[in-house]
């Protein structure tokens, strides 16, 4: 039997947009995923402060939430975002790698509920948090 975690890892590494953002899967198991995004100048959203764009943080959190859904023990075959809410608490420190952690905390027959945070390792206050729902598709 193929390991679910291996499948999910391969799935993420096959996502072109995740590759373009430079995302790296750190950890994935049982409905929990950790993905990092190294600082890159192409992601800058404010040329004056060199802080990365909120959109890049959204993309990191969205990918991380999707990965958490795929690794859930209820084994969905595919998933897509239904809605995603992001709160930006503070600017990400320029030069720092962002690390997102997502937890898929409930799955029904067709919907998965996920929450996530992104930190930059500078303070305990996350850069952003997310609350999302995803489709949980089954054959």
């Amino acid at each position: 039997m193929v390991d679910r975690a291996t499948l999910a890892r391969q799935f993420i590494e096959a996502i072109p947009h995740a590759r373009a953002l430079g995302l790296e899967l750190v950890e994935i198991a049982e409905g929990r995923a950790v993905i990092s995004m190294p600082y890159d100048e192409k992601l800058i959203g404010d040329p004056e402060t060199r802080v990365i764009h909120g959109g890049a943080v959204s993309a990191l959190l969205d990918t991380c939430c999707g990965a958490a859904v795929m690794s859930h023990p209820t084994q969905p075959d595919a998933t897509a975002t239904i809605d995603l809410r992001i709160d930006y608490m503070r600017a990400a420190t320029p030069g720092q790698t962002l690390v997102a952690t997502a937890e898929c905390y409930h799955v029904t027959r067709s919907v998965a509920f996920v929450r996530a945070t992104a930190v930059d390792g500078r303070t305990d206050v996350p850069v952003a948090s997310a609350a999302a729902s995803f489709t949980a598709e089954r054959r």
Partner: protein, 190 residues
């Protein structure tokens, strides 16, 4: 008294297009996503030109939800900045030469953004337009709709709240943030 003769169209267009170009091209992430803006008068339409790098599900294929959300957020921020810039541009208060030299106005900061994914994003160009629901001195609320082939069939929409950059005469830029009162910012936030 007869009104003053309007400026030649080319002069007006050049000034407006120059200001928009300076605003958009200064942001590396906007280039990364391949977003450009189409202008008709003061109305902007964001265009996210399709590239394989925007794909989130290679099997369907479909646009990445993060790219879609980012596209709507970029459209909201640029539209909001453009609305602020427009007033100064038309009144002549804005120095275009300084703008083009990279001396850009501070950008609004996203407080929160909620994206609804209504349909799978197809592997082709996407468009978005923002409606500024409310623009106060400190906070703004913006609604953005994204579509592809058919304007009446949006593939995503978002609502975002933004912290507006301090304007000249606002006092210290780093004054502590006031808590948002129930029902939104008070009358002083006009």
């Amino acid at each position: 008294m007869p009104r003053s003769r309007p400026e030649p169209m080319q002069v007006v267009k050049q000034r407006r297009d120059g200001a928009l170009k300076a605003l958009v091209e200064a942001v590396p992430y906007v280039r990364f996503l391949g977003i450009v803006f189409d202008r008709r008068g003061d109305e902007l339409t964001g265009v996210m030109t399709y590239s394989e790098d925007l794909i989130g599900n290679p099997f369907l294929p479909a646009l990445h939800g993060g790219a879609t959300s980012a596209f709507l957020e970029v459209t909201a921020i640029v539209s909001l900045s453009w609305a602020v810039l427009w007033d100064d541009l038309e009144s002549g208060a804005l120095d275009i030469a300084r703008l083009e030299a990279g001396d850009l106005p501070r950008l609004p900061k996203t407080i929160g953004l909620t994206t609804d994914y209504l349909r799978s994003g197809l592997p082709r160009d996407a468009y978005a337009r923002a409606r500024i629901v409310r623009r106060g001195r400190r906070y703004a609320s913006v609604h953005v709709v994204g579509w592809q082939d058919n304007h009446d069939r949006p593939f995503a929409q978002a609502t975002g709240h933004f912290l507006m950059p301090p304007r000249d005469g606002d006092g210290a830029p780093d004054t502590p943030r006031e808590p948002m009162a129930p029902g939104g910012p008070g009358p002083a936030d006009g």
